[in-house]
């Protein structure tokens, strides 16, 4: 039962991303051509709402359900990893039209060929794991 809340959050997330069309390859293509505000509106309003929610949580000193202070985890600061890794992901994002959330959601919409993309992504992660100590971060 303790996992039920995560299942519900996932279902909600999947519905929102399909209904917003953010899982559509076409919308990603249109975004990278700067021919629609739609995706920028989604990401922009999500970030703005996120900033406000996290600021409110901080001001009110809200605790999470485990009783500690509510805060987003700190990201790694390395410049190289963010630029090189980010650019490589961007190439894959535009080609597949999916990022790591939507690729699962799309399986639910009945596009089973995207399972190939998912397996390739797991393999890409595995190769990164093998090379991690040799790569600049």
């Amino acid at each position: 039962m303790k996992y039920l809340k995560f299942l519900l959050v996932g279902i909600f997330f999947g519905i929102v991303l399909v209904k917003s069309e953010a899982v559509s390859w076409y919308r990603i293509y249109e975004m990278f051509r700067f021919e629609s505000f739609h995706m920028y509106g989604i990401i922009g309003s999500a970030v703005l709402t996120g900033i406000i929610l996290l600021l409110i949580a901080k001001k009110l000193n809200l605790k999470n359900i485990e009783g500690s202070i509510m805060q987003a985890p700190l990201k790694n600061k390395g410049l190289t990893r963010n630029i090189v890794g980010g650019t490589l992901f961007g190439l894959g994002w535009a080609l597949s039209g999916a990022c790591p959330g939507p690729m699962y959601i799309l399986v639910g919409t009945g596009v089973f060929s995207i399972l190939i993309t998912i397996v390739a992504a797991i393999f890409g992660t595995f190769v990164y794991g093998l090379l991690k100590d040799k790569l600049p971060h």
Binding site: M31, N64, G108
Partner: protein, 185 residues
């Protein structure tokens, strides 16, 4: 009900995505979908080959449950909560896509010219799916996050490294669409 069946506008969808992030932080977790890729590697005992995967995947079960929910959510949204799909793309986008050989722009979520089995089972089609997936997996874990972890969560918590990562996502995406697409398609 009619409002739910139609596509949702950005100003509804964006804040709802932020809510997903906030709820997961409230549950003492985080909104990061690409982390699951490392969990899958750990489940396959890749920890023996690389220490990145040397952790107990059961600690990440909650995130796999989010993934399971996302698949169910995708099913519900597509088959219960949607009118027939018609994505209202910019006519210029549709024209550019036709020049590249995409003739069904907006009639489905994904282009059949990439994701239908007819294309997937060709060498080029398979190569496109594998290359795209590989770049997603390698790139997100190198950068330490994807659209959810960096662009939504990281920017919402005002982290500079997430801004750098998000700008890099766009550099990669712009290069793919403007420079490589005419060569690939």
């Amino acid at each position: 009900m009619e409002y739910i069946l139609q596509p949702w506008p950005w100003f509804i969808s964006g804040p709802l995505i932020a809510l997903v992030m906030f709820i997961l932080v409230y549950f003492g977790k985080t909104f990061g979908m690409s982390s699951n890729l490392e969990t899958f590697c750990a489940m396959c005992r890749a920890g023996k080959k690389a220490k990145l995967f040397n952790f107990n995947w059961r600690d990440q079960k909650w995130n796999l449950i989010v993934v399971l929910g996302a698949v169910i959510g995708g099913f519900i949204a597509r088959f219960v909560l949607s009118n027939p799909i018609h994505i209202d793309l910019n006519p210029e986008t549709i024209e550019h896509l036709q020049q590249l050989g995409f003739n069904n722009a907006g009639k489905s979520l994904l282009p059949p010219e990439i994701y239908s089995w007819e294309y997937v089972l060709s060498i080029k089609g398979l190569a496109i799916l594998i290359a795209g997936g590989f770049l997603i997996g390698f790139g997100t874990r190198y950068a330490g996050g994807c659209t959810s972890g960096h662009a939504i969560t990281g920017l919402s918590s005002l982290q500079l490294s997430s801004l750098i990562a998000t700008i890099s996502f766009f550099i990669g995406g712009l290069f793919m669409v403007h420079i490589l697409f005419p060569l690939i398609f």
